[in-house]
Structures are given as C-alpha cells and as structure tokens.
C-alpha cells in the first residue's frame, strides 16, 4: 500500500486536482464581469477607388475561370482616429486583448458585410490607453463587388476579444460607433 508508486500516484492526483480547482476558481471570479467600455472613432479622409483585387483572383487564373475572375472591387483608404482607455479591463484572468475595428454595411448583393480594417494586440502590462490620431487602415477595405461608391451608411465599431489565462473568450463591442458615407465618385489620385 505505501509503495513509492502509490505515494507518487496520490501526490500527482492531489496536485492535479488542486490546480484544476484553483483554475476553476480563477475562471469563476471573472466570468460575470462586464467588459464593455466607451470608445470614440472617427474618419478624417475617405476615398473610394475601383481597382482589380489581384489577391482574390490570382489563384483562379491557373484554373481557367477567366470570366469570373474579372472582379473589380472597390477599395477604400481611411484615416482613422481612435480613442479609448482599456487599462481597467485587465484583471488577473486577462492575458491579452485583441482589438479590432470593423466596418459594417449593407449592399444590394450582400445583406450583411463586415470587414476588419485595423487590429492590435495588447498584452497584459503593455500600455492599454489607445489614443491614435491619423492612422491608416491596416487592411484594404475591399467590397465583394461594387457596393461602396456613394454608400451612405458604413458603420465603424471598435471591439475586443478577451484572451483569458483560462476561461471564456468573449468578443465585446465598445459603446459608441461612427457612421460615414463614401464619395459618389471614384478618386483618380493614388491611394
């Protein structure tokens, strides 16, 4: 009964169950917290242009879908301002915040569109006060088709995905969003 194996087994089982219990308490202590917080976003310069999306058609070339391939999309380059204070979101069960700015809009061809324009990873201990002026969109805003020219109502929202040490992975939208419209003509300048 009191062999080395038996004692080792008991020790390992006890350590594991204590660790599991502590992890569960850590999860329970933060599961009901409200992680919403206000943020302000606005756009300074909105430009729309019609160019082919080569990244979306390169693969198709080889396979001979030439007619489908000629997909001219619209891209948009915006200059954003983004301001929020997220320091208070960090607690002992938040390892990382993944911030992202989503553009949401409706077109005749698609009822619901979401495009992420910008994202940022904030680890615990890093500066979580976001006050960005005149940042460019990190990803191109391609529409699936030609729905952006003259579009009246595109909504930008800031959201964050909370990565815990152990627990749920909620996506939380900031309180406050920004709507803007696109110019009715394509730009001829370089973007």
């Amino acid at each position: 009964m009191h062999s080395v194996f038996g004692r080792g087994n008991a020790m390992a089982a006890y350590t594991l169950s204590v660790l599991a219990g502590l992890t569960f308490c850590c999860f329970l202590s933060t599961v009901f917290l409200d992680y919403r917080t206000p943020a302000t976003i606005n756009t300074r310069q909105v430009v729309v242009k019609s160019i082919p999306d080569y990244s979306a058609s390169r693969e198709k070339n080889d396979l001979g879908y030439q007619s489908v391939l000629l997909l001219f999309s619209l891209i948009f380059v915006a200059i954003l301002n983004c301001c929020t204070h997220l320091t208070h979101l960090f607690n002992w069960n938040v390892k990382q915040l993944f911030l992202y700015v989503t553009a949401e809009y409706q077109t005749p061809s698609n009822e619901f569109n979401q495009v992420v324009l910008w994202d940022k990873i904030i680890l615990r201990g890093e500066n979580a006060v976001i006050d960005l002026k005149n940042i460019h969109a990190k990803y191109y805003f391609w529409d699936d088709g030609n729905g952006l020219k003259g579009h009246k109502n595109v909504t930008l929202t800031l959201s964050w995905n909370i990565i815990p040490n152990a627990g749920l992975l909620p996506n939380v939208g900031a309180i406050g969003s920004h709507s803007f419209s696109f110019p009715p003509e394509y730009t001829t300048s370089r973007v």
């Binding site: 198709k60 993944f98 009822e111 992420v116 990873i121 152990a166 992975l169």
Partner: protein, 176 residues
C-alpha cells in the same frame, strides 16, 4: 510485484469484473465525447492548438472548447476552427472579413493573428473564401497547456503506446 500477485490470486469472476470495469471506463469516455458533440453541435468540441499562428493568444498545446450552433451567426473577429480540402489538420484562425447574402449563405476570409497575410495561401488551390461547411466550430473557451500531453503523444508514437498499455494494464490488473 504486488499487483501481479493480486492478479494471479483472482478467480474467473473477479477477472470478468475487471474486464467489465475497463469496458465501462472506455464507454463512458466515448459517451462524454459524443454527448459534447450533441450539446455543442461541433464534430470535434475540444481541439488542441498545434501551431503558433495565433500567438501570443494561443500557444502550441493549449486547449480550445468549440461550439457550432447553426443559429449563432459567424461574425468578424470570431476565432473559427476550419478544415480545408487537402489538409488533414484543422486550422484555428480569426475571421477578417465576411459577406452574408439575404438567403443566409455566408463567405468569409480568415487570418492568423501572428501571420502577416490572410489565409488565401492556405486554402485549397482556387479557393478564395471559406463557407459554413468548412467550419468545425468557433472557439468559446480556453485552457492553457493541457493539450501538451497529446502533442507529445503525437510526436512520439512509442510514448503514446507505452502510456496506453500502462493505463490498460493498470485498470485490468489493479484490484478494487
């Protein structure tokens, strides 16, 4: 060894009992797994992260709990686990853009947090978008490190067989 002596002293009835309890353990594990599949709607409710493409959020060996409710729509920023034709191992990445038609068909593009480019290079040749049928589930819960055991088992198959045989022997021989 004591255990082996125990085993030799067993009669037929006791051996049968041991075999039965071994079968109980295997079948209850299977029941829990299948039950989770029903509750979460995902064909694989728990996955182990196998690559570093979502670092620093997920490291190799972290465990993710998935759900795949059809009523619950996929949205940008969600972490989806998807399968691509020609690749056996599912990929865990984040939805970057998404277009949904009024009849409910949805197409979306993903990107790993730690990758510089989106996933079109990872998809099957000619594939530009993912659709609902590629999705295994969406990550809802996170538990670090626990999956390291399965990673070791996959990297060292001998270790896997040794562990399995040892466990089976322990259950079969050990006297209650």
């Amino acid at each position: 060894m004591d255990a082996w002596d125990d085993f030799k002293r067993m009669n037929k009835r006791q051996m049968l009992y041991q075999a039965l309890s071994f079968g109980m353990i295997v079948s209850s594990a299977l029941m829990i797994w299948k039950g989770l599949m029903v509750v979460t709607g995902s064909e694989s409710p728990i996955v182990v992260v196998l690559s570093g493409s979502m670092e620093p959020a997920f490291q190799r060996g972290d465990l993710l709990f998935l759900t795949n409710n059809q009523e619950d729509p996929i949205r940008a920023g969600d972490i989806v686990v998807f399968k691509v034709e020609g690749r056996e191992i599912p990929i865990v990445h984040r939805v970057l853009k998404l277009h949904e038609k009024s009849n409910g068909t949805v197409k979306f593009l993903t990107k790993g947090d730690n990758n510089n480019v989106d996933d079109r290079g990872l998809y099957a040749p000619g594939q530009l978008w993912l659709q609902k049928n590629h999705v295994v589930g969406r990550a809802r819960g996170f538990l670090p490190y626990v999956g390291l055991v399965t990673i070791y088992m996959n990297d060292y198959p001998h270790f896997k067989y040794a562990v399995l045989v040892a466990l089976a022997l322990y259950v079969l021989i050990h006297r209650e």
